[in-house]
Amino acid sequence: MSNQLQNTIKKISLYLILVIAAIIVIYPIWTAITISLLDDKQVAQYPPQLYPTHLNLDNFRRALEQAPLLRYLFNSMMQSSLVMIGQLFTACLAAYAFAFIDFKWRNVLFLTFLATLMIPWEATIIPNYLLIKSVKWDNTFQGLALPFIATGFGTFLLRQFFLKIPKELHDAAIMDGCGHLCFLTTIVIPLARPALGTLAVYSFLQTYNQYLWPLLITSDESMRTVQIGIALLQDEERFMFNTVMAGVVFVLLPTFFLFIFSNRQLIRGLTAGAVKG
């Protein structure tokens, strides 16, 4: 009996710790949502309002009216989709070669791919900026997306998955007169759907959340991405925190949905590469 009581107490205290930890982790997000729902008087009061009192969507209306957030969102979606499709295409082909074709210099080339992971993007950003400027691709979607459509990480991730596909399948397909491209499209890609899904979500998230590159090469307001767009909201004095936070919530919503729906797959795929790789 006392043992059972002890267990119950232990359980309750564990839940208590879990809830406190969750509140601390979630607090910044909670704050963003709260502030985005406050009116101008509430947001300027002291002590600060810690929770919303009513569903007041004025700030969202104001943010959408005064900054072209929908246009920014469209730009971000375009950039992210282009990068995602590009990475899936290039990484699939490269990972296939590394996993199924036994060719000379394979290790050297594979190391070359891995080496790109160790070169910080910031170390190459000046020449890239000058290059994109010189071909007048600043303020274009190709300028936003093209430098990122190859991925050492994605190639590595897919290769690890492809290696699990039995070699006999490959040999049998080749015997049947199904060439490399045919084998890739009819067998490998359908089997590797989970890994492709992981890469798709990951590259989309990464690109959608990019900051430095779009900051450098988009000077036209009509080509800005959401991340730059809302960061600039804060610079303008006419916007109060509640309007800025409405913008923040607006920008966060797509990635939250993506994250909630793909949570399991994203995490399983990424950790399989990181922990066991």
Binding site: L14, Y15, L18, A21, A22, V25, P28, I29, T31, A32, Y46, P48, L50, F89, T90, L93, A94, A97, I101, F103, T112, I119, P120, E122, A123, T124, I125, I126, P127, Y129, L131, L146, P147, I149, A150, G152, T155, H180, Y211, L212, Q227, I230, A231, F241, V244, M245, V248, V251, L252, T255, F256, L258, F259, I260, L266, L270, T271, A274, V275, K276
Partner: protein, 318 residues
């Protein structure tokens, strides 16, 4: 002529000519395979060459020149930019700021995430919801989190100082003071990194064999002993991975600085990448910025080699 060689082959398989032709057939097949592989690799390779490898060399090249305001190299100055790096306070300050930032963020991120992962690994009803909360920051961008923390840190309106006052602590000047600005940005960065770190540690914990704990329990080991002698050693490869990823991320921090402090107050948050950005984008000092970028690359390269060469040997792989 071909006819003659063919008939020679048939009669004498050990013939020199036969071996030569045979060998070249293997080579031909190898060559064909190589070409096919190259075709599969070429989309990636072209992008890497154009946007990674050539720019890396061009960064080095630029760093030996003075440029005009548009970034065109004008006069060769050799290692002058590098001498300037170490003779003026700009780079040394940024380097120090970046190293401090690594020291602030990396250990605390890993410790906090380890705590969260341990909590998330409990066998309780509804634990999946908590895991989701703990990994949520994966979906948050640096820009949005910076804006949120800009509010939280606000001296008059922000709720962080108010919450501190509730538990009897003094208000902190956060982003406006030379001594607290970098730690404040570190807090925002740690929060952003927690999601990925927790997810990786949680996955590694779930990969530890149950039998290890069972036999430890039979031997009478308590929770703390199990944690020290089983969990921590079995997580070493995950720790190793996270240390690499977190250090690289800390060195590459830019967005938080750009949104929250623009390098101030008095350059106290002017970390390396921000300094590179400021020197070439605002001051038009392409050569000087390129020299800083080369240093950034060398530091990261050195760290990676060090980590893989020395740290990895001490990692326990299961």
């Amino acid at each position: 002529m071909t006819h003659v060689t063919n008939s020679l082959q048939e009669r004498q398989p050990d013939n020199y000519f036969y071996r030569l032709i045979h060998l070249s057939n293997i080579q031909k097949r190898e060559f064909r395979k190589f070409i096919i592989a190259l075709l599969f690799l070429s989309p990636s390779l072209i992008i890497f060459i154009v946007f990674v490898f050539i720019p890396l060399f061009r960064t080095v090249y630029l760093s030996t020149f003075l440029t005009n305001p548009l970034g065109k190299p004008v006069s060769f100055v050799g290692l002058e930019q590098y001498r300037r790096l170490f003779a003026t306070p700009v780079f040394l300050n940024s380097l120090q700021r970046s190293l401090l930032f690594v020291a602030y963020t990396v250990p605390s991120t890993i410790v906090v995430s380890l705590g969260l992962a341990l909590l998330g690994n409990l066998r309780l009803k509804g634990i999946a919801v908590f895991r989701m909360f703990f990994s949520l920051t994966i979906a948050v961008s640096a820009a949005t989190s910076s804006l949120i923390f800009l509010y939280l840190f606000h001296p008059a309106l922000g709720s962080l100082n108010y919450l501190l006052s509730l538990i009897g602590l003094q208000a902190v000047p956060w982003l406006v003071n030379v001594n607290t600005a970098l730690p404040a940005i570190a807090i925002a960065s740690v929060w952003l990194q927690i999601g990925l770190n927790t997810v990786i540690l949680l996955a590694a914990m779930q990969g530890i064999s149950e039998e290890l704990y069972e036999s430890a329990m039979i031997d009478g080991a308590n929770y703390w002993q199990q944690f020290r002698n089983i969990t921590i050693p079995m997580l070493s490869s995950a720790f190793f991975f996270l240390i690499v990823v977190d250090i690289l991320a800390a060195f590459q921090t830019f967005t938080q600085i750009h949104v929250m402090t623009s390098g101030g107050p008095v350059n106290s948050t002017n970390v390396l990448v921000f300094s590179i950005y400021r020197e070439f984008y605002f001051n038009g000092q392409y050569g000087f910025a390129a020299a800083q970028a080369v240093m950034l690359f060398l530091i990261m390269l050195g760290l990676t080699i060090f980590q893989f060469g020395i740290l990895e040997r001490q990692v326990f792989y299961d």
